[in-house]
């Protein structure tokens, strides 16, 4: 479990992370969203024990991470631009990691070679960006981490590889209760793997939600009514987040149980009635209401 309390980090005079609180449950995948410069990378580097926070604390499994060697042996960070030792081959890099991580699993390392299909004798610097990222995953997963911190990990991976990596993550989560925190500036990229999502903006965490709950709780309703009055009466009984009119058809974003909504709308005999699932992106935009304009920029 990752617990962040009142975290603040400034660079010279710029505030990168401000009074941020965050909790990630063990065995879950937490998606950290935000535009460029929102402070995601800074937060992740503090979580990985690289940066020292100015204020506040970061605990993983109830222990502070900074300069905590036994804990860091179970935490692996993959930056958005993975760094490898100059001139090192995958094999040499694996040997280097082996000297740091006592839980290094040689069998796993060899097995993962079948997944990634890269010759371990190749020099990493000569590999493409996507392949370097695969190597980073390969090495990281072989250390058998309890917590995996991923900064924009999907960039540069082809769809097949994306799926493979997602499967590997799911497998570790299921088998060993791996905790993953993953950042992205694009919600669509991670909506199918995260169970929690937080949105950062200007150094603070603006929204933190559980995805399943959100998805089952918000609906897009399209309906047409005989008169404006009927619509108003109907609307009064619903928790409407957003409303707009397209021709004679109204579009509502409604929060609530699906059946319950249907039960409430039917009595007003709508001329058109249709209930649609929302994309995660839409849910966020509508959910945020007042600060939606900020979030919209973040997500699209």
């Amino acid at each position: 479990m990752i617990q962040v309390r009142n975290l603040t980090k400034t660079f010279e005079k710029e505030i990168a992370v401000e009074n941020l609180n965050l909790t990630v449950q063990q065995g879950s995948i937490y998606g950290l969203l935000g535009s460029n410069g929102a402070g995601k990378t800074t937060l992740l580097k503090i979580l990985a024990g690289i940066y020292r926070p100015d204020h506040g604390s970061v605990h993983i499994n109830e222990q502070p991470i900074y300069e905590n060697v036994p804990l860091k042996q179970d935490v692996v960070f993959i930056p958005d631009n993975p760094y490898f030792l100059p001139q090192a081959t995958i094999k040499q890099m694996a040997a280097y990691y082996r000297s740091f991580y006592p839980n290094w699993n040689e069998q796993r390392y060899e097995k993962l070679q079948e997944v990634f299909q890269i010759d371990p004798k190749r020099k990493i610097q000569r590999l493409s960006k996507g392949m370097k990222r695969q190597v980073a995953f390969w090495l990281s997963l072989a250390t058998m981490p309890e917590v995996l911190i991923l900064d924009e990990p999907i960039d540069g991976l082809d769809p097949v590889m994306r799926q493979k990596i997602k499967n590997l993550l799911f497998q570790d989560i299921a088998e060993r209760e791996l905790t993953v925190i993953i950042s992205s500036h694009n919600l669509r990229e991670i909506e199918d793997i995260c169970d929690h999502v937080g949105i950062m903006h200007e150094g603070t965490l603006r929204i933190e939600k559980e995805l399943d709950e959100l998805k089952s709780d918000t609906h897009k309703v399209q309906a047409a009514f005989e008169s404006e009055e009927t619509k108003d009466k109907m609307a009064a009984g619903l928790n409407i987040l957003h409303e707009e009119k397209r021709g004679s058809v109204y579009l509502f974003i409604v929060r609530g149980d699906r059946k319950e909504i249907e039960r409430k709308v039917r009595p007003y005999q709508p001329l058109v009635f249709d209930m649609l699932p929302l994309t995660l992106e839409e849910i966020f935009i509508y959910e945020m209401g007042g600060i939606g304009y900020e979030i919209e920029n973040v997500l699209l």
Binding site: K45, G49, V69, P70, P79, P82, Y96
Partner: protein, 660 residues
């Protein structure tokens, strides 16, 4: 098991060997070329006479370069991971503590530096065994060298590591290392020479750069051949190694990893860096423009230098040349206010420096002389240069008080003669010292005080090293100051004659007067006394001036028939030309220059001196250098000529009349 593994990490060591091993290899190759290979070359060269007593006789420059250069390089490369943001992030995300990272890098570096030195020492001892010419090179010499080479290499290595913690740029690490190593000496001499501009009586020669430089590691390295390191220096450098390492560790623990690629990694150090550079640039600018001799230009130098320094420091910190913002000038204005206040304090002598004269009862001893270096040397040789005579103390103190009260303007000067400088130093009751130095004071204003001091026995015995005249002298040589005019120079070896001469010299010096002491150019030459030692090398000698006022010496020489060999005489003079050029020598320009510029260019008239008596008088009174309103050209038989100056009262009135 876990903690042990985290401290000494074989993975890091292996990686360092792979990534940075070349540095050790270069070090080894460098040493092999600089020492054993060079030894073979020297020994094989049969025409060369070898005198190798220690390792620095083999090569010097390359050794300095290796000891100061490669360790800095090693530190920069081994700690480069700290300065590259991606590498810094990766390494610090690994489960390893910073102290362990530092420890492992230091171990790698030490191995890289020490092993080549040991291998080289082994090779040197093999080579020196193979060639008999290296007989003087003992095992102790080699071991001493190993110790010094390791010590100095580790010092440069660890100091660079320490500097690397302060900065986030690899290149800056190297530059800053050498700047910081030179800075104490440089800053010392800058402040020293700048204070001399403002504080009347400040002696910049007393605490001189040379003295400060003995603690500069680079200077110590370049001088290893001439003087071996003292025990104090060795201990000092060992301490510096330990302190650098400890400081690096502490800084590393506090360092923010995100400061990689920033010029200065600790916010608290940034203003120190900024204003430090500004200050140094200001002092340099002021000193540079001081050569034009006007205070306006010096101030211009200060302003210009400080602005340039300030901007450069700001640009380095911000890593862009576009730093011109309102706030920037506010910072400079703050600096300027502080400096102006400081300048006012110094200039108006807020600390009472210029006016201070110690009370008689506070004075233990006194020194009056013409060279502050004498004091420095006496300190080093543990001699006591101070005179305890109460009468002398009183007279020097009186002179000092006159100078302090009148504060006569120092005259501008192009050339300096020894007696243009007065150094007054007190040894105080409380164990402290007070040193003042005055240059080119117009002697008229302080005449009575100065005369009282100069005619004291205490002054004379110090200035002319009179006690040496009591020693046994094996030979005396008269060295004329116009080369080629008298051949050969006189050499006296008869013991009886020598002793007579010693007595006469004692008398002459004890009776030499104030004017003649100051008129140091009015000499025939030098008299050199040789004091025998047990071996030829130990033979010492000292010189006394053969002043033209030493009539007893003249008489003695004449009586013994030596005069013509000892000095020029009027018989050798063919013609004398004299010109009246008032004030021309005020800046102490040389007579030959004045004669060429004034007389030969037709700017001043000259007359030939025909009267034998006048000729004789002028010949017996002209000075080779020094102030005077008349310049003369003396032509000897043959083509030789010499030039000199004369003061008004030394010129016969009949000649003076010709210029009216």
């Amino acid at each position: 098991m876990k903690s042990k593994m985290s401290f000494f990490n074989p993975g890091i060591q292996k990686q360092n060997a792979k990534q940075h091993g070349w540095i050790g290899l270069i070090f080894l190759i460098g040493w092999l070329f600089a020492l054993p290979l060079q030894m073979i070359l020297l020994a094989e060269d049969e025409e060369r006479v070898l005198n190798i007593e220690h390792m620095y006789d083999i090569t010097q420059g390359p050794q300095t370069l290796l000891m100061a250069g490669v360790p800095v390089l090693a530190a920069i490369f081994l700690f480069r991971y700290l300065q590259v943001p991606d590498a810094a992030d990766m390494i610090h995300s690994l489960p390893v503590k910073r102290e362990s990272l530092l420890f492992n890098q230091l171990v790698s570096g030490t191995i890289m530096l020490v092993v080549p030195i040991l291998i080289t020492a082994l090779a040197v001892s093999l080579v020196s065994g193979a060639y008999p010419v290296y007989g003087d090179l003992t095992g102790t010499d080699i071991w001493n060298w190993v110790g010094i080479a390791i010590l100095m290499s580790l010092f440069f290595f660890l100091f660079t590591v320490f500097v690397g913690m302060i900065t986030g740029i690899s290149v800056a690490t190297g530059i800053l290392t050498f700047i910081l190593l030179m800075l104490p000496v440089g800053l010392f001499s800058l402040i020293n020479s700048n204070l001399a501009l403002y504080l009347y009586g400040f002696s910049s020669a007393y605490r001189n750069t040379e003295q400060a430089a003995q603690w500069s590691p680079i200077v110590v390295l370049t001088e290893l051949g001439e003087k071996s390191m003292s025990l104090g220096q060795v201990i000092g450098f060992i301490a510096a190694v330990v302190i650098s390492g400890a400081a690096a560790l502490v800084l590393y623990k506090y360092r923010h990893i995100e400061t990689a690629s920033q010029a200065i990694t600790f916010t608290a150090l940034q203003p120190i860096f900024k204003y430090g550079v500004t200050f140094c640039a200001m002092l340099t600018g002021g000193l540079y423009y001081n050569q034009y001799g006007s205070i306006g230009w010096v101030i211009f130098g200060y302003i210009f230098g400080s602005i340039v320094g300030y901007l450069i420091a700001e640009m380095i910190l911000k890593k862009t040349w576009r730093v011109f913002r309102g706030k920037l000038f506010l910072g400079y204005a703050g600096y300027a206010v502080v400096i102006v206040l400081l300048g006012i304090l110094v200039n108006y002598d807020a600390f009472g420096f210029e006016k201070a004269v110690p009370e008689t009862n506070e004075i233990e001893g006194v020194y009056f002389g013409h060279n502050a270096y004498q004091l420095t040397q006496a300190d080093q040789n543990e001699q006591n240069p101070y005179n305890q005579s109460e009468a002398y103390i009183e007279k020097v103190r009186n002179l000092h008080e006159t100078i302090v009260e009148k504060q006569p303007q120092e005259l501008p000067a192009q050339f300096m003669q020894r007696t243009d400088i007065f150094v007054i130093a007190y040894e105080l009751e409380n164990g402290g010292h007070m040193i003042r130095e005055y240059q080119h004071l117009p002697s008229d204003e302080i005449k009575s005080g100065l005369k009282a001091v100069l005619e004291q026995e205490a002054y004379k015995s110090q200035e002319y090293e009179l006690d040496k005249l009591n020693e046994k002298v094996s030979s005396v040589e008269f060295v004329p100051n116009i080369p080629g005019a008298v051949q050969p120079a006189l050499r006296i070896e008869d013991q009886e004659e020598i002793e007579e001469l010693q007595e006469i010299m004692k008398y002459e010096i004890s009776s030499i007067g104030y004017e003649n002491i100051l008129n140091q150019g009015m000499v025939w030459g030098n008299i050199q006394f040789h004091i025998p030692g047990d071996t030829e090398e130990e033979t010492k000698s000292f010189d006394l001036p053969y002043h033209k006022s030493f009539e007893e010496v003249d008489t003695w020489l004449k009586n013994n028939g030596y005069l013509e060999q000892a000095r020029l005489t009027i018989e050798q003079v063919d013609r004398i030309e004299i010109a009246h050029v008032p004030r021309a020598t005020e800046q102490n320009a040389s007579p030959v220059r004045i004669f060429r510029e004034q007389v030969e260019q037709g700017n001043a008239e000259s007359v030939n001196v025909n009267n034998e008596e006048e000729k004789n008088h002028i010949f017996n009174h002209f000075s080779d250098f020094g102030r005077g309103d008349y310049v003369v050209k003396i032509m000897f038989d043959g083509d030789e000529a010499t030039f000199g100056s004369l003061q008004e009262e030394q010129v016969p009135e009949s000649i003076q009349a010709q210029f009216d």
